[in-house]
């Protein structure tokens, strides 16, 4: 599969889940809990009660019961004080792609984030169950349309002894706006930081932004004095953070080693030495896992699940924030405008047996979806049923649209991709569409070529793609593939743009939920996409590894345990 050698995983900014919004903004008390986000599939191990995730849950849960204060008294005590292990043993995590940016203030590459989460802390983070918990911030609140007030946790020091202060945060916000480098667009709405007192500050945004807490999750805090002292090159040589692990060494294209921070300010990590190993070849990674040289591989090939689920290894999975879909491009130069008629796009949605693809090609490791994002995303309309597989209905709609004799359609699929089995999926779709009279010209194409065709707008009228958002919010889905300002939107409407912009700036979660549900209904009736499935994040691990697979695709080594260490 080798999927990690390619394009940046579309990690977007962060979103409020309904639950976290209420919890932190304090709009209401006693809100019904959001749908359980951790739908561990495949009967795999789930963490025991002492897991950090459940500890975090308890910590913040207490805060949520303080009603009506309007503040985010999310004063979760440093998690897991009752469970403070001595770090021991070691673990080797395999990843396919080389590390790109050691400095987390540059662009985000999903490949790098697991390392970033080991070395650095941010103001807030997500626990394994996807609730947002304060980390370097003790608490925070949305104190105005464009301002958020934070209380900084006291007494925290970086690995080099440098204290964490409000000035550090000020410098960090300035640094992400440095013009001379590629910066993560996720932070471009941050304006400046105003110091209130030694532990309190206000973060101002340029526009009202309900996703500030989600964006902050990967806004890693760097030591300002050290950074300025050694410069960026020096920092990349020896990165320093406040996180649970300290940097030891890096051999480019080979590995990074980190060791447990014995003075970590919250619960210490369970495992002492962690190696992030770069192994580009999937088969080699599999063999290294079997030989016990590595302890975890991300996205094992689906045809290996059964073999990996016995003996010394096991497979862990959880529903992902990422889904597979086909994008329609009605005005594609490779078509004749057949897809301009919404009935044709509906017909395509009826004509393809997505459940069959999930069952027979993906071994059931995917969830059929009714819209453009997985059910774990905020404001998902659970009442909207996925398009059923109904070839007769498809034929009827095609006839109504004037295509009773069918037509020819180019379908492009990336030949290797973050999704497994893309070519086989294309072949299944080709057969299904043949049944309703549409002759598919299937074009498996290298991903980089498809990306170029997307940006040139010469891509096929229908192409298989994937989108995800670690914000767990519809904003990044609609902003990326529905809003007409996006380079990757191929069918949109001005009224949809207005709705997307309105929701993006609204701090009222009920209003946002209403707008997103409306968008889900409207795009269901006039589909810009072929709705397919949410994937599962899959991990193959040695059987003595205890970890909770995460919906946001992160691997947080701080939370990983090993029973035999």
């Amino acid at each position: 599969m080798g999927d990690d050698l390619r394009a940046p995983v579309p990690y977007q900014s962060e979103t409020l889940t309904r639950r976290s919004l209420f919890r932190y903004i304090g709009l209401a008390a006693g809100v019904s809990a959001a749908a359980p986000l951790l739908a561990a599939c495949g009967g795999e191990d789930t963490p025991d009660n002492g897991s950090p995730a459940s500890t975090a849950e308890t910590g913040t849960g207490g805060a949520a019961t303080t009603p009506g204060t309007g503040s985010a008294e999310a004063t979760a005590s440093p998690q897991g004080n009752d469970d403070d292990p001595t770090p021991e043993g070691n673990i080797v995590l395999a990843q396919a792609a080389e590390f790109i940016e050691i400095n987390p203030h540059r662009e985000l590459w999903s490949t790098d984030s697991n390392f970033h989460f080991a070395i650095f802390d941010s103001l807030v983070q997500r626990a394994d169950d996807m609730t947002i918990v304060p980390v370097l911030a003790e608490s925070f609140e949305n104190s105005g349309p464009n301002e958020w007030t934070f209380k900084l946790r006291e007494g925290i020091r970086f690995h080099n002894g440098e204290p964490l202060t409000v000035e550090t945060i000020q410098w960090n916000v300035q640094d992400i706006h440095t013009e001379d480098a590629k910066r993560d667009v996720n932070f471009k709405n941050f304006d400046r930081v105003e110091k209130i007192d030694d532990t309190t500050f206000k973060l101002y945004t340029k526009e009202p932004d309900p996703l500030v807490p989600q964006r902050l999750i990967r806004f890693f805090i760097l030591p300002s004095q050290y950074f300025q002292e050694v410069g960026e090159d020096g920092f990349i040589e020896k990165p320093v953070g406040t996180g649970p692990y300290k940097f030891v060494e890096r051999v480019k294209d080979s590995h990074i080693k980190v060791t447990a921070n014995e003075d970590y300010w919250r619960r210490k990590p369970y495992i002492k030495d962690v190696t992030f190993r770069v192994i580009p070849d999937t088969s080699t990674t599999l063999q290294a896992l079997k030989a016990g040289e590595v302890d975890m591989m991300i996205s094992p090939p689906p045809d290996q699940f059964d073999a990996l689920n016995q003996g010394d290894t096991k497979v862990l999975s959880v529903i992902s924030n990422r889904m597979a879909y086909c994008q329609f491009f009605p005005d594609s130069p490779q078509g004749n405008g057949e897809l301009r008629d919404p009935r044709v796009r509906q017909a395509l949605n009826y004509a393809i047996n997505v459940d069959g693809i999930i069952e027979f090609l993906l071994g059931g490791h995917a969830t059929r979806i009714s819209t453009i994002f997985p059910p774990v995303i905020f404001a998902h309309d659970d009442e909207l049923e996925p398009y059923p597989y109904d070839p007769e209905r498809a034929q009827f709609l095609l006839k109504e649209a004037g295509f009773e004799n069918g037509f020819n359609l180019v379908l492009a699929v990336p030949s290797t991709f973050i999704l497994p089995k893309t070519v086989e999926i294309g072949q299944a779709m080709q057969e299904d569409l043949q049944r309703v009279g549409i002759t598919v010209d299937l074009q498996p194409t290298e991903q980089a070529t498809l990306v170029k065709q997307r940006s040139d707008r010469t891509i096929a009228p229908m192409y298989l793609w994937s989108w995800g958002s670690d914000s767990l919010d519809p904003e990044q889905f609609y902003r990326g593939i529905l809003h007409t300002a996006s380079p990757y939107t191929f069918y949109g409407k001005p009224e949809w743009d207005t709705l997307i912009d309105q929701a993006a700036k609204s701090l009222d979660s009920e209003e946002r939920e209403r707008i997103y549900k409306q968008l889900q209904r409207e795009t269901y009736e006039d589909p810009p996409w072929l709705f397919m499935y949410a994937i599962e994040n899959m991990y193959a691990v040695r059987s003595d590894i205890e970890m909770t697979p995460r919906t946001d695709e992160r691997v947080i080594v701080w939370n990983i345990k090993r029973t035999s260490s």
């Binding site: 580009p280 040289e293 980089a448």
Partner: protein
């Protein structure tokens, strides 16, 4: 000699300019690095800003002139993806690649010479047949398959060597064998056929007649004559080995130039691909120059021409 060197160096310069130009032009047709590198949620404006940052907003001829000007001063530019100087990125990976290529060549020669000589001396014996079959299979075996088989057998089943990685001599063995098998097979065949040819010649018979020991004849007189063809083949193989190293390095997670190039191509990291290709071209030209100079040492007759 001086003139010869100057002519070869001029030739090398033309090769480098030609290779750079071809790579530069071809790359511009193959993809859009901005679309591949920019964060997925970038707006059209973000993409334009990114394009400007990478200097891709300028007309292609202007980009070409800037690239050639940089090349003339030894500046290969900065990688789009890593935001680091290309020269540094390439030089960091070069030692691993050279280490692997050298190990593979030494491995190949160390086995090919005795195997080839023995096969020639014991012509048509069982040993000769086995060596020939071995050479044939070795040349036909795809590198990716051989690599995987070695990993499964040696690293997983027998568990005596690491599956992949870099750092110790144990890590070097499997990639060395994988990369060295093809040249080993090739060299064995060459040594055998050259030796058969030479052993039939008059001066060998004369040597026998003089009563020289057969070992002396074999190694001192026969093999040194086979050396010329062998050196040529080794020189030609260096380019092949650097190419083959791309696959071997990927299979064995070997942090060399090949890996860097593969990733650069996937992301259309133009400056990095250009820089790496220029380095590989330089190495190939350099090795061939050394081979030409070696001829003079091995065969005094060529010194005159």
């Amino acid at each position: 000699m001086g003139r010869f060197l100057i002519r070869r160096l001029l030739g090398a310069l033309i090769v480098v300019i030609g290779v750079s130009t071809i790579v530069f032009v071809v790359l511009r047709f193959t993809g859009d690095p901005v679309a591949l590198l920019a964060p997925p949620e970038s707006s059209k404006e973000d993409l334009e800003a990114y394009r400007r940052l990478l200097g891709l907003d300028k007309p292609v001829p202007v980009q070409y002139v800037e690239f050639m000007r940089g090349l003339a001063t030894g500046d290969l530019g900065e990688s789009f993806r890593y935001s680091e100087p290309v020269t540094r990125l390439v030089l960091e990976r070069l030692p691993a690649t050279i280490q692997l290529a050298l190990a593979a060549i030494i491995f190949a020669l160390a086995f090919a010479i005795p195997l080839g000589v023995l096969a020639a001396v014991k012509r048509d014996s069982i040993f000769d047949t086995v060596a020939s079959i071995f050479a044939f299979v070795g040349m036909a075996m795809p590198v990716f398959w051989l690599g995987q088989m070695l990993i499964i057998l040696v690293a997983v089943r027998l568990n005596v060597l690491p599956t992949s990685g870099y750092g110790s001599w144990q890590h070097l063995i499997l990639p060395m064998v994988t990369l060295g098998t093809y040249p080993l097979a090739q060299f064995t065949r060459l040594v055998r056929s050259e030796m058969l040819e030479i052993l039939r010649q008059d001066f060998i018979r004369t040597a026998h007649a003089k009563g020289l020991r057969s070992m002396t004849i074999l190694f001192r007189h026969a093999l040194s004559n086979a050396g010329i063809s062998l050196v040529t083949l080794v020189g030609l193989n260096v380019g092949v080995l650097l190419g083959g190293a791309i696959i071997t390095e990927t299979i064995f997670a070997w942090p060399g130039l090949g890996r860097l190039v593969v990733q650069a191509i996937e992301f259309r990291d133009f400056p990095l691909i250009q820089g790496a290709v220029i380095f590989i071209a330089l190495i190939t030209v350099g090795i061939n120059l050394i081979v030409d100079l070696l001829y003079g040492i091995l065969d005094p007759r060529t010194r005159l021409s």
